[in-house]
Symmetry: C2
Subunit: 140 residues, 2 copies
């Protein structure tokens, strides 16, 4: 199956990055303000993008300050069944974030468009963790 993979340096602590991914305040600052986020495995996160996309993601793994996994239950038909994995590794000066959006059935044009947009939002996540101000969907 196809996967989108991004790796980036974030000059911030693993705790800050983990919080940005697992809290409503965090996700609202780098991805979308229209967010509801649970706090345990099995909970359903909601990420809305105006009228364009409604995503429901089941939390399938939470390892504090190290790893977060979601499974997409609702969203664009190409996203349903895909997995989103965030892996955080502490480094001497900051952290490495590995993001994988896997289990795509095909590398379509939408896959390539999402890859481009993930680059944008990974940078938003980085800048939010480093400066306190990201560029979520509502500010794009």
């Amino acid at each position: 199956m196809a996967a989108i993979k991004h790796l980036l340096i974030v000059n911030s602590s693993p705790e800050k990055i983990y919080s940005a991914i697992t809290t409503k305040e965090g996700a609202a600052n780098w991805w979308t303000e229209q967010t509801e986020i649970g706090n345990k495995v099995g909970d359903i996160n909601i990420f809305d993008f105006g009228d364009r996309y409604h995503n429901e993601m089941k939390i399938s793994k939470l390892i504090p300050n190290k790893q977060v996994e979601w499974e997409c239950l609702e969203g664009d038909k190409e996203w349903i069944g895909t997995k989103l994995i965030f892996e955080i590794e502490e480094k001497d000066e900051g952290s490495v974030l590995k993001f994988t959006h896997g289990n795509w059935r095909e590398e379509t044009d939408f896959f390539a468009s999402c890859n481009y947009h993930w680059g944008y939002y990974m940078r938003s996540l980085k800048i939010y963790c480093e400066t306190g101000k990201g560029t979520p969907f509502q500010n794009e």
Copy 2:
């Protein structure tokens, strides 16, 4: 073989996008200021990034306002032999740009890091074509 694929909307003409990819002035404004660019198939383009990377790309295809292909002859060892393809399609209001960096031997951490950075530079290319001001390496 593995490939990085990005697809994005650029609110600009195919001519402007083609020029941004095939001229020194263009590439200097979205990718790197340390650039030499040829104007015919078989010419060698040079893209330097300070002391970090020295890339030599042979121009392997030029279809004005539609397609550009380069083959990497010198650069990071994982880049040598890879192909970079830019495809431009005119749309009602602007253009679609499809970028493929293909022929990678493996999906390594460097592949994922380059994918992240290509997202950044594709956005720089888009913003440069739309506003006249991109974010090349020297301004990152």
